[in-house]
Structure formats: C-alpha cells, structure tokens
C-alpha cells in the first residue's frame, strides 16, 4: 500500500548525501526489526528471554503491558520497524513522499518508546535490555531521519 502511494510521486533528484543518510536509516530500521521479531517469536513460542545485562526481561515481557488488545507489543513494534524500513529504503531510492511519511512515523515511534521507557522505570520497575535497545534504535533512527529531512528540505 505504501508502495502504491509513493510510486506516483517518484523523484530521482535526491542528493547523494541524503540518499546515504536514508541508507543508514534503512540499516537501523532493519536492526530494530530483528530485535522486535526476536521478542515476538519468544512471546509467541512461550519461551523466556535471557536477560544478561539488565536482568528484568521476565518481569517486563510477562507484564500486562506486553500485550495490547491481544497483540504482542513486540509484534506491533516489528510492524512499525518494517514500515520504517520500507519507507527508508524507498526514500534512499529517491521516493520523496516516502521520506515525508517517514518523519511522522518515526516521531510516533519515539513517543511510544518514551512511554514504554516510563512504564519500565516507574510502573514495572524493571528493565528489559531488548526493549532498551529498541528505544535506542528508535532515537538514533529519529536523529538520522531528521537530519535527512533537514538536508532534503
């Protein structure tokens, strides 16, 4: 669906540096997608997630906040990262409308990440390293996308 929308507004007149920034965003989104997919698979298979750094994965990932309307939150995260990946790669190939859609998407992801960080810190009182990694990737993605938008505009 994203593809249908952006095909009509293709513009190949993108500067090379901006394209490379979107390549970086694509790689970041792919790392985030892998992280979210791992958590989704562990959730669906009922396996525990070993937490060697922060030690709170079991508490966080089995809390009531790990599921939203019957859907694992990690799955929603995977969908968001997949959308970010798709839009970033399209932007890297010069589809300017994909670049425009990427900014609000990543902005929303940052807001959700902040909310999830708050839940871990103040409500659940435990941290899951894979969730922190995801938050870090989202923030890095936001910085990269913002830079690309500044350069492109």
């Amino acid at each position: 669906m994203i593809g249908i929308f952006v095909v009509s507004v293709e513009n190949t007149d993108f500067r090379t540096t901006t394209k490379w920034i979107y390549v970086v965003a694509t790689v970041l989104a792919l790392v985030g997608l892998t992280d979210a997919l791992y958590l989704t698979i562990q959730h669906l298979s009922g396996s525990s997630v070993p937490c060697s750094v922060t030690g709170g994965c079991e508490e966080v990932l089995t809390s009531s906040y790990a599921v939203l309307a019957g859907i694992p939150l990690a799955g929603i995260g995977a969908a968001a990262y997949f959308s970010a990946f798709s839009l970033s790669i399209l932007a890297a190939f010069g589809y300017r409308s994909a670049a425009k859609l990427l900014l609000p998407l990543v902005g929303t992801m940052v807001l959700v990440s902040v909310w999830l960080f708050y839940l871990q810190a103040a409500v659940i009182r435990a941290f899951c390293q894979f969730c922190l990694l995801s938050a870090g990737i989202t923030i890095a993605l936001a910085i990269v996308v913002f830079l690309a938008w500044k350069k492109g505009s």
Binding site: I41, G55, Y65
Partner: protein, 237 residues
C-alpha cells in the same frame, strides 16, 4: 529495474520476517501437562464446578519469598513446584499467560517443593535459589523450566545450570558457592516445611488466596474462571 528494486527488497524482507515468525514461534510442547491431563479427565466425566478448597494458612516459608506483582493485588497465587516434574514445566507457561492477561491483579509466589522421586529436583531448586541471591531467581526459574527436557536426563546437571547462570549474567563463581550454601539449603527446607504444613504432597500444588486449586482446574480456561471469581469477590468487598 532500479525502480522496482526497493519493492523487491521490501517483499523479500517481509517474506523472511513472516517466515521466521511462523516457523520459529511454534509453541514447545511438554508431555504430561496439567492441561492435557485435565482435558482428558474433563472428557471422561462432566466438567467440574470451579471450586477451591478450604482456606489454609500454614507455617511461613522462606523469607523473603520469590514473588511477582504487587503484594496488594486482589488475587494471590502461590505455587509449590518441583523443577523436574513435567506438569510443573507445563504449568509454567500457563502461569506466564495468566500474568500477561491479568497483570498487576495477580501476586504470584513460587515455593520450592523438590520431590524425593526426582534425582535433580534439589540441584535445580538450589540453582534457582542461588540465582535469587544475585537477584535473578525468575530468570533462572524460567530457564530451568523451559529447558527441563534438556537437563532432566543428564548425569551431572551442575555444568548445565552453571551455563544458565552464565547466560543470565550471574557471577558464576558466586553462583557455584551459593548453590551449596547453608542459606540456600535453609530456604528450600523452609519452603518444604510450609508445603508440609499445608498438606502439599504433589506438584504443582497451587493456592489462590490461601485455598488449594484442584489439579484438574489448572488449565488456563478453568484457572481464568477461578481468578475472575476472586476478582469479583474482591470488588464486592
């Protein structure tokens, strides 16, 4: 072709992602599960009314106990478990599922009740307790249960549990020392003492708000009814 390339990559990544989720998220099955045992019982005779036993308090167990959720939660679930017993292994994902569904409405406690018929039950309980001394009881508890089939037939389980300790980031030398410490032994003894005082003679034995849950009511669908009943009763108080 260049126009189509990003779409091909996107479809490729989508295919790999969906394939990985479908292939790798198949639930691991454990035989002798309370769910299957109860289902077969349920098919043999009319489904039992979801009722709990009388209120029992017993003597205190190890202090502090290993708990999840707020102590003020309206539903307190206390499990007496043996890490080597297959139905306990099968009950582990059920309790995990309940925690996901009910969240902060549940206060879950795990009590050690290693049965003498299981060779590795005490080393497993000691490993979980030793991990607890480094603040990672629940991580070790989950690993031991989820890999039950990997260690229960082993001759020497200590290196396997030390591997788990390393995996969850414990100080392995301290873990090895704590596993055989008096404190760990004392905790297991105190939990066992509590189990005896409550008349627990099999595992998993589960109490909801101090009332024993009959074994056949441990599958998620009946457990849910019991939890809902307790929540309803708590809201009417």
């Amino acid at each position: 072709m260049k126009r189509l390339l990003p779409f091909i990559i996107i479809l490729g990544v989508l295919g790999v992602a969906v394939g990985a989720v479908v292939y790798m998220s198949r639930p691991k099955t454990v035989g002798n599960s309370p769910a299957s045992a109860a289902n077969s019982t349920a098919q043999a005779r009319p489904s039992p009314a979801p009722t709990l036993g009388p209120v029992k308090t017993g003597v205190p167990g190890a202090d502090p106990p290993h708990t999840l959720g707020p102590a003020t939660a309206p539903v307190r679930i206390e499990e007496f478990g043996d890490f080597e017993c297959p139905p306990c292994g099968a009950f582990h994902p059920i309790l995990k599922q309940m925690r996901q569904e009910y969240g902060d409405k549940l206060f879950i406690t795990f009590r050690e009740n290693p049965l003498p018929i299981h060779d590795h039950a005490i080393p497993a309980a000691s490993a979980a307790e030793a991990a607890g001394m480094q603040g990672k009881f629940w991580e070790m508890h989950a690993l031991i249960f989820e890999h039950q089939n990997d260690w229960k037939l082993a001759f020497d389980v200590r290196p396997i549990f030390e591997g788990y300790a390393k995996q969850i980031g414990l100080d392995v030398e301290r873990f090895k020392h704590d596993s055989t410490s008096d404190r760990v032994e004392q905790r297991i003894f105190l939990d066992g003492k509590r189990a005896r005082s409550l008349g627990v003679n099999s595992t998993p034995t589960v109490f909801i708000n101090d009332r024993e849950v009959p074994f056949q009511l441990l599958p998620p669908e009946t457990l849910r009814v019991l939890i809902d009943n307790e929540l309803r009763a708590a809201s009417q108080k």
